[in-house]
Amino acid sequence: MSFASPVWLLALLAVPLLIALTVVRSRQRDRFAMRFPAAATLAAAAGAEAAWKRWVASALALAAIVALLFGAARPQRTVRVALQEASIMLVTDHSGSMAATDVAPTRLAAAQGAAKTFVDNLPDGVKIGVVAFSAAPDDVRPPSTDHGESRAAIARQTANGGTATGDALAAALGLLRPKAKVSTPAAIVLLSDGATTVGSDPEAVAAEAKRLHVPIYTVALGTEDATVPNPDPSGPPLPAVPDPVTMRRVAEISGARAFSAQDADHLGAIYKTLGSQLGSKAETRDVTVVPVLGGLALLLASGGLALRRRA
């Protein structure tokens, strides 16, 4: 809630003054009473009227003044309006370490569920694309309004291979900005669990993304002491350590936020937030009409009450 002309709010200081004046005048009126032998009968005829009832009309009028002053200050409300033109690339990692079970049921299953939640939370007009990668980007879907295709692409992944984060990001960037001049709202959401093993440096790609106005939101998944079973049955379990530092650097360079998720629920929540943030933008709306109408209604009520007591 913000105000377009907040100087009017200073007039609210006069309201306690009005209250004090009313009370003082009412006390003054009580100082002079008329000699009346039938005063006891008159008191009995009036009955026990609750003291607060006398003040209802004045209180309503005061509330009307306050409401109209708020209206004069022109309050404004911030709403999130759905973007119709955005394009978002989901870049998901399905390397071998995603088979670890530190995130229930496996990191990959949790990531798929979260990504599905993300897609569901986006408005229909937003274009979604998917880049699934392990040692190289495979299963690339360009941004389109057909969310079903993206969901299918996400569900198809299996966990195997290395991690080529930089290459995947470059591919996603290329799909979002086919020509240098295009500047529709766009974002990349990167979900990965491990450090880059092959391919180009993700930080360089992040700098390029910043130049093209594409924020890269990163979600680092997994706990530190997770392991995956060794394909060689006689060997020890392989470590599957996430790399949150690189992810944070990538997000900061490209001008976005970094998240880290330790479990599936957290992951789901992050994606939900991202979904609503990326798919909408903040807009201020003028809500002056609300306090003005309210003030008028209160004025009418107060006037009606005051007139009714004269009847």
Binding site: D30, R35, P37, A40, L42, A45, A46, R309
Partner: protein, 305 residues
């Protein structure tokens, strides 16, 4: 004793009783005479000083006694001259019980209630002192015991009446619910002869008229003159009104703009007066209601007829 009786004073807005035209008083005389005929035997028109019919005593003749009072029967029996002495009885005794409480100093029409009361007392006094009657006044409603002006006849009675009426009413702030009862019981002890008792009051105190007037009515003829003000019966729409009772000092702040309040006030007052009238009618005492906005003398005459 004298220190506990605060002085009475004439109310600030005193208007006076208005004109008292002689023909109307004459007409009222006739009416009143007929009204009181039932309580006292004998001819109203008897004149003369000291020649009543009630025997006071029979005693031996002393030098100086009027020889016309010699009693033949007693003198023959005893052999010595005896005289018969009679009670010097007045023909008509009137007692006026006047309410001088603070609530009487109120009026919103032509005059105050105390002005109407003063006029009625004046008229009753003049009529009482005709044909050598006697007049006594009891003032109640002021703090302290009732102030009694004993029976007088002739010119001293007129002077006493004028003096009493000029004193005025009690100051505000004193409430005495039993004032009427005290006055009636004091009068009951004092007045042995059957008399005409005129009670001039607004009858607003809480006393039940039946209990105080019953003993009085048994011996005397009682006439209740109720003085009211039209604003005590209905209250106009003047918005929020702060009122204070002159006797009890109780304040109230009332919204007279509400029709419900006005109608309820009318109902309560009508109920109170109806109860009073019923009680007075049941006791079979005479009752007249005089308002401050009408010709009270005319109404008094018409009501008594």
């Amino acid at each position: 004793m004298i220190a506990e009786r605060p002085p009475l004073h004439p109310p600030a807005a005193r208007q006076g009783p208005g004109a008292l035209p002689r023909p109307m008083i004459e007409a009222l005389d006739v009416v009143l005479t007929r009204h009181t005929a039932r309580s006292q035997p004998g001819d109203r028109r008897a004149a003369g000083v000291g020649a009543g019919t009630e025997l006071a005593q029979l005693r031996g003749y002393q030098v100086g006694d009027d020889v016309r009072h010699l009693d033949p029967a007693a003198s023959a029996r005893t052999g010595e001259p005896h005289v018969r002495l009679h009670v010097p009885e007045r023909v008509q005794t009137t007692w006026v019980l006047l309410d001088v409480s603070a609530s009487m100093a109120f009026g919103t029409a032509q005059r105050l209630k105390s002005d109407v009361a003063e006029g009625v007392a004046q008229v009753m006094g003049q009529l009482a002192l005709r044909r050598t009657g006697a007049l006594g006044i009891v003032r109640f409603g002021a703090p302290g015991p009732p102030r009694i002006t004993p029976l007088r006849a002739g010119r001293p009675a007129f002077a006493a009446l004028r003096h009493v009426l000029a004193e005025g009413v009690a100051p505000d702030g004193n409430e005495d619910a039993s004032a009427l009862g005290d006055a009636c019981s004091a009068l009951g002890r004092l007045a042995q002869q059957p008399a005409l008792v005129v009670i001039i009051s607004d009858f607003r105190s809480a006393a039940d008229p039946a209990s105080v007037l019953g003993p009085l009515r048994a011996r005397h003829t009682v006439l209740c003159v109720e003085v009211y003000d039209p604003r005590e019966l209905l209250v106009p729409d003047v918005g929020i009104l702060s009122v204070v009772d002159p006797e009890t000092g109780r304040t109230a702040r009332v919204d007279t703009g509400s029709r419900r309040v006005r109608e309820r006030f009318i109902a309560l007052e009508a109920q109170r007066r109806a109860h009073l009238h019923d009680e007075l009618r049941r006791l079979r005492v005479g009752h007249v209601a005089l308002g401050t906005d009408e010709e009270w003398l005319l109404k008094l005459g018409r009501s008594l007829r």
